[in-house]
Structure formats: C-alpha cells, structure tokens
C-alpha cells in the first residue's frame, strides 16, 4: 500500500489537483482510495465519489486536523486495504503551518498557490520544507517570470523537492504527479513524523477562554521572547 499525504494552504486547489491525478492513476491501472480530512465541513467527498472510488471523510472538529490525521493514519490504511485499494491518498486541512502531517514512509505533497506571491514559500514552514513534491497551482494567473521567481523561492526553502506545475481546471501536471506517486514508497509499520509537533498543548487547547495571563499554563513565550513553564 502506498501512502500519499497531500497538504497545502487553504484554497490552493488540493482537491482539484487530486481529482485529475486520480483519473491519471486509474488510467494506469492503479486503485486509489481517498480520505479527506477537514475541520468543520466538507462536500469534497461528493466530488471524489463521482470518480467511483472509495472515499472516507474525517472531520477533526475540536482536534487539530494534523493531529487527527496522524492519530488516524493506521486506521485509514486498514480501511483502504479493506476497500481493495493500492494507493491511499490522504488530503488534510493543515492550518496553523507550525507542523507538517507527513510520516517518513509516504509521499509528502504540498500544494501551494502561486498567486499568493513569492514571499509565501518563506512563510509556510515545514508543510513546504519537508515535502517531497511541491505542486504549484494557478500559474496561469501570473506571468512566466513570476512563476519562475516563485519556483526559485520554493527551492530556497526546500532545495531537494520535485516541483510540479499544476492547474486544477485543465488538469495540467496531473500526469506528472501520478507518475511520481506510482514510483513513491510503500507505507510501513512504525512510521515516524518528519517534523516535530508544537512544543506542548496550551491552555486554550484544553478549553480556557479567560484572557488574563494568570489563567494560562504550559510552555509559554513572552512578548520579549522569554520562554517559561507554568504549571504542576
């Protein structure tokens, strides 16, 4: 079973790129299954179902979507296997850009929107810097020069990645991405995350709503950069 984890900034076109890529995979006699993880709501599963493949939705709700994805990875793989798939495509709604949902033995794909400007690759963090493949979308909306500058910026933060220029409307790049997936690694037991999660959960994570400083515990960073631990 191959595992592909597809993450990216909101609205970058992850689902559209994936839809075209699935068609390309099926043309090459692969049997993909999709798990779509979102936070509160999604109807992307309807779009995937039209391709007549196994689809599973996971809503992370109160849980961090990346933590939700990682926590459920084994279950997803078991489900995909039971469905007779040979490639599991896991699309996640990573949001805070602090961590990255990529295990080591998977094909890590980061989808990023060129129209967000050439400074964006510097802001996205491990989601981009630890990806194997960076998919640049919406390149048709900018000049070739701007695409090339964007590409340069991506390579500055992730020199070893493969860059695929894709278009969710026309399907450009899907064949290339499908080819990279076909030659990707097989998932194994005891996978490790490529990047460490945030330092600790904070009081807000556990439901604290009071703003006053005295109510907050955990590993905390002051405005001046000083870090301390408060708690038991």
């Amino acid at each position: 079973m191959k595992l592909v984890v597809l993450a990216g900034t909101p609205g970058s076109g992850k689902t559209s790129v994936l839809l075209h890529t699935i068609k390309a995979l099926m043309r090459n006699e692969k049997r993909p299954a999709v798990v779509k993880v979102d936070c509160l709501w999604t109807d992307d599963d309807q779009r995937f179902k039209r391709l007549d493949i196994p689809v599973h939705v996971g809503l992370a709700r109160d849980m961090c979507p990346d933590h939700f994805t990682i926590y459920n990875t084994e279950e997803m793989l078991r489900w995909a296997e039971a469905e007779g798939a040979d490639v599991l495509l896991s699309e996640t709604a990573g949001l805070c850009l602090r961590c990255a949902p990529y295990p080591d033995e998977c094909l890590a794909v980061c989808v990023i929107d060129v129209t967000t400007g050439p400074n964006t690759p510097l802001k996205v963090g491990p989601l981009l810097t630890t990806a194997d493949i960076v998919v640049m979308t919406k390149g048709d909306l900018v000049s070739q020069a701007e695409r090339e500058v964007f590409r340069e910026r991506v390579l500055e933060v992730n020199p070893g990645c493969n860059i695929v220029e894709a278009n969710g409307l026309t399907g450009k790049g899907a064949f290339e991405l499908a080819e990279l997936i076909r030659s990707g690694p097989d998932a194994v037991d005891n996978m490790l995350l490529r990047y460490n999660p945030p330092l600790a959960i904070c009081s807000l994570c556990t439901g604290e709503t009071r703003v006053a400083r005295k109510h907050h515990m955990g590993v905390l960073r002051n405005l001046d950069g000083f870090m301390e631990y408060k708690g038991e």
């Binding site: 048709d140 701007e146 340069e152 910026r153 399907g171």
Partner: protein
C-alpha cells in the same frame, strides 16, 4: 540551447477525445507562426503544451519534439535550461516587491547576471508611454507597463530560443515593435492572436477548433499585401492615439 533548429508538434486529441486532423506541424528557426480560432477553442492550451514540452502527458495527448527528438526531462522543468519563454495573457503582478527586486530575482532564477536589470527597464520604456522606474512597485504598474516589462524581460533575461506570445495586442503597447523585439534573431515565435496585422505577419497560421488543430494556412502574397495596407492604417491609428495622449488636436485625414 541555441542549437535548436526546429520544433515539431505531434497531434493529439480534441475536446471530444477524437484525433485532431493535423497530425504534425514543424516550425523552424526564424519562423513566426500564428494560432487562430474562436475564443475558448483551445489556442492557449496549445501554447501550454508547447511551453511544457508535452510528451503525451497533458490532457490533449500532444507531443512536442525538439530537433525531431524527445527533449531531456530536466529541460522541461529547470528555468535555467528552459527552451521556452512565454508572454501570457495574464499580466497583472501579484508579487509585492519593486520592479528592480523582482527582475533581480528573475535573473537569478534563470542563472543570468543581475546587471541585465537596467537593460530590461530601458527596453520596456521604449514600448510604453508611461515610463517605468526601478523603484516602482510591481503591483502598481498599469496593464501596458506590465506587458512592456514582461516583453523586455523575455527579450533580455528569459532570452529563450522559443517564444510564445498570447494575445499581445490587448494591452495598448506598440505591438509590431514588441513582436520584432521578441522575435530577435533566429528564434521560433508562436503567437496566439485575433489581430489581423499580427496574424498576417506570421508565415503560417494554425487553425484551432473545438480543442483540435484543424488546418494550417500559409500566408499568401495577397494576404501579405493586405497586411502592409492594414499596418499603415494601424500605424495611423497609433499616431492618432499619441496625438490625443499628448493633448493635441487631430487636424486632418491622412
């Protein structure tokens, strides 16, 4: 890179998945070829296929050969090795930086010297009425300025043996000058256009319908004569435009 002599487009399928009638088009060095067809017929898709040197791996299934052979994989992706420079329809900039910073970064991404930047700006200013300065913000440039800047960028920084132009007439720049600048010496130029001057300046034009190449028309002597006549009209219109821009009064029929 400079040894590229010709480009071959091998036909794929149209929007219905049916084989397109034209199975092969060869374009040689120094030639300007037009692409014509109704809006939405797939002209830009053909340009895209050429830009990415498609190998049967795009939705059209077309294959692009360079000097009759499949190009090496790294030529397709690495901007430093890129054979193709593209002047696209979409020209508004989204990068929040100055003209100078942007051009320096672009030169770097193409492995070129950053001293080319002032040359690009100089050349761009020959194509547009409103001068561009190095400290101008990209996002504040007008449509004409953006297009002039990108035209000059292609002539100086991208400087690739194949130049693709998509609807250059739409931005109020001196289009014939722009085309001559882009064509340079011994380049392959493919231009998508509805503009009669530009279409007839090309030696042949590929006709696109429903996503497929359906015909190739060689520009006849009669058409070349027509082209000369409409160029005159076009230049006259251009000079009128300049007169009005200067705030002068239009006096006579030429």
């Amino acid at each position: 890179m400079s040894e590229i002599m010709n480009l071959t487009i091998l036909g794929g399928v149209n929007k219905e998945g049916v084989d397109e009638p034209i199975r092969s088009v060869e374009i040689s060095r120094g030639e300007i070829v037009g692409i014509v067809g109704p809006t939405g017929s797939g002209k830009s898709t053909l340009i895209d296929d050429i830009e990415q040197l498609a190998q049967g791996d795009t939705p059209t299934g077309r294959t692009i050969l360079v000097n009759g052979e499949k190009p090496a994989a790294n030529i397709r992706v690495d901007p430093r090795k890129k054979l193709v420079a593209q002047l696209s329809q979409n020209m508004h900039f989204l990068a929040d930086m100055t003209v100078e910073e942007f051009l320096q970064m672009h030169a770097r991404s193409r492995g070129k010297d950053e001293s080319l930047v002032s040359r690009v700006i100089e050349l761009a200013n020959t194509l547009t009425g409103e001068p561009i300065a190095p400290h101008h913000h990209l996002t504040a440039l007008s449509g004409g300025q953006s297009r002039s800047l990108m035209t000059a960028d292609i002539a100086v920084i991208s400087d690739s043996p194949v130049v693709l132009i998509d609807e250059v007439e739409n931005a109020g720049i001196k289009k014939q000058e722009a085309l001559q600048l882009l064509a340079g010496e011994g380049k392959i130029v493919v231009v998508v256009t509805h503009d009669p001057v530009l279409a007839l300046m090309s030696s042949r034009r590929i006709v696109i319908r429903n996503g497929g190449m359906v015909d190739i028309i060689t520009t006849s002597q009669e058409e070349q004569d027509v082209c000369c006549k409409i160029s005159e009209v076009d230049n006259w219109l251009m000079s009128l435009r300049e007169t009005i821009r200067r705030g002068d009064i239009v006096e006579q029929v030429a």
